[in-house]
C-alpha cells in the first residue's frame, strides 16, 4: 500500500509552473503529481508510488521543495544566458565544415 497523498502549494508570484513541473519530473520515480493553478496558487497533489515511513516521506517532500527552488534558479540562469549560449555555440561551430553552405 502506498502512502497517502501530499498537497503542496506554491505562490505563482515566486515560482513558475515550469519550475514545479521540472521538479515533479525529477521525482517521477517517487510520486505521481496532479497540478492546478487557482488564484495564483500552484497546487500540487503528490501521490507516492509506494509506502514510506513518515520520516522518509517528509524527507522526500523537503527534497521536492528544494528541487522547486533549484529549478527556479535554473530557469533564471537559462533565460539570462540564452544569448551568450547561442553566441558560444555559433563561434564554436563556425568554419567547422559541418554546414552545407561552407
Amino acid at each position: 500500500m502506498a502512502s497517502a497523498d501530499v498537497v503542496l502549494v506554491f505562490d505563482e508570484r515566486l515560482f513558475s509552473i515550469e519550475a514545479v513541473q521540472k521538479a515533479a519530473y525529477r521525482f517521477i520515480h517517487l510520486f505521481a503529481m496532479d497540478m492546478s493553478l487557482v488564484n495564483g496558487s500552484i497546487t500540487c497533489t503528490l501521490t507516492p508510488s509506494q509506502e514510506h515511513s513518515p520520516e522518509g516521506l517528509q524527507h522526500y517532500i523537503d527534497e521536492f521543495k528544494k528541487e522547486v527552488l533549484d529549478q527556479h534558479l535554473r530557469i533564471k540562469i537559462k533565460a539570462e544566458t540564452e544569448d551568450v549560449r547561442n553566441l558560444v555555440l555559433g563561434i564554436a561551430f563556425s568554419n567547422s565544415g559541418l554546414l552545407a553552405s561552407e
Binding site: 519530473y25 529549478q71 534558479l73 535554473r74 551568450v84 553566441l87 564554436a92
Partner: protein, 486 residues
Amino acid sequence: MSKFHSKEDYLPTEASYKLLPIKFERLNSDEYVLTNMSGEFTVIENADLDKVVNYKLVPEDQLYADLRSRQFIYEPNDKSPVQMLALKVRTKYSRLANFTNLHLFVVTLRCDHSCPYCQVSRQSEDKSSFDMTKEMADKGLDFVFRSPSPALKIEFQGGEPLLNFELVKYIVLEAKKRNESLGRDLAFVIATTLSLLTDEVLDFCKAHNIFLSSSLDGVEALHNANRPRAGKNSHQKFVEGLGKARLALGFDNVSALMTTTEQSLPQVKSIIDEYLRLGFNGIFLRPLSPYGFAIKTKKYRAYNTERWLEFYKEGLDYIIELNKAGVRFTEHYTSLILTKMLTSNDPGFVDLMNPSGAGIAAIVFNYDGGVYASDESRMLAEMGDDSFRLGHIEKNTYEEMMLSDKLLDALEDTFTLSVPMCSDCAFEPYCGAEPVYHHAVYGDSVARKPESEFCKRNMAIYKHLIELMRSDAETKQIFLGWANRC
C-alpha cells in the same frame, strides 16, 4: 616604483558581472557542483549559489575570481570569455566532424566459449549459418571508406573471430590495398579470447600491426566459472596466449576487459591483483550489459546498481592506494570520465557520447550482412529486436542506412541537451545519450531519467570522483595524471 600594478588596478571597473551558461546539481546536503558549457566544474556552498545567480558576489570574494577565471561569470569589459568558452566547446565536439571511426566486422558468431553472460556467441560447427562471407566483407569495406574520418579502425568481433581467420586476413589485406591510394590512418583490432592463437595468427598480426583485445575476469577459478569452454581451461589458455602475444607483438599490444558477474562482487581486490600479476597497467570495471544471454540466464538481474557501485568504489579505493604506493595502475572507466571532467578533450567513448555514438562513432557489420548502429544494437537483434538494424550491407546503400529514420530519430530524440532532466543536469557534459541501453531496458530510447539505472550509476560516479578529488590532494594529482595521458 614597482614594476607591477597594484592588485586594485585589476579590480573590475564596473560593479556588475554577467552570468555565462552554468548548470548545477546538489553534491551533498551543503554543497552544489557547478559546471560551465565546456564541463569545467567547481563546488560551492548552498548559500553561494544564490549569491552567484542573484549578482551578490563582489570582486573581493575568492569565489568571484575563481568563477571569472573559468568562464562561469564575466565582466562586460572582459576581452574574450565567450571566445575562450567557444574554443573549449569546439574542442570538446571536434570528434563529430570526423564522423564514424570504429567499424566492427562480426566475422563469425561461432565461439569455443559458452559464457553465460555473452550476448551473442554460438557453439556450432555450421560455418555457413554463422560466418560472414567475402562478398559481405567487400561491401563492408566499401562502407568503411565512405567515412570521412582520417583515422579508421577496423575491429574484428565474434563469437571468436579466429574461427574465421581466413576472412580476417582477407579484410586486412583488402583494406590495406584500398588504403594505398587513400592514405587514411588505418588500425586493426581483433577481439579474441586468445585461446586459439597460433604462430600463423601471430605472424600475421605482427606483419600488419594488429592489436589484440581480450577478456580476463579475474583469478583462475572466477575466470573459468565465468568463461566456460571445453577442457575448463579458459584462464590457462588466456595466460599462455597473453605471453605468446606479448612476445610476438609487443607488451602493450594486448589488452584485456573484465565483466562483473555476481561472483566477482566480493573479490574486486583479487581481480585487480590478477591484472597486476599479469602485467596490465589498468582495468576496466564493467557492469553486465542488459542484452542477450545475460538476460536469458538472468545474470543481468543478479545484482543491482547499488551493489555494482560498492564493487566499483572498493576497487577504485584499492587502485588509488596502489598508486599512492608507487604502482602505476588505472581504472579505465574512471580515466575516461576524468578526461571529460578535467580537460577539454573528449575520449570518444561511445557510451558517454552526445549525440550518441551509435552509427556516427561506431558501426557494426554483422555476420549475416545486417548493419547495426552499435555492438549493443546487434546484441539486441539477437533477442529479436531489430530497432537499431539500419539495413543489409548487400541490399542497402550507405545513404539509405546513414540517413535512415531509425538512426537519425534515435540520435535526435536522445540528444542530451534537449532531453528532460539531462538538459538541466550539471553532469551533462560528461554523460552520454545511450539510446540502445534505454530502449533495451525501458522500451524507450529516451526513458525517464529518474528511473534510469544508467543515470543513477553515472551520477553516482561523477559525484564520487568529485568528492574524492576534494577530500585528498594526492588523489587529485593521481586523477590529473589519468586524465592527461599522452
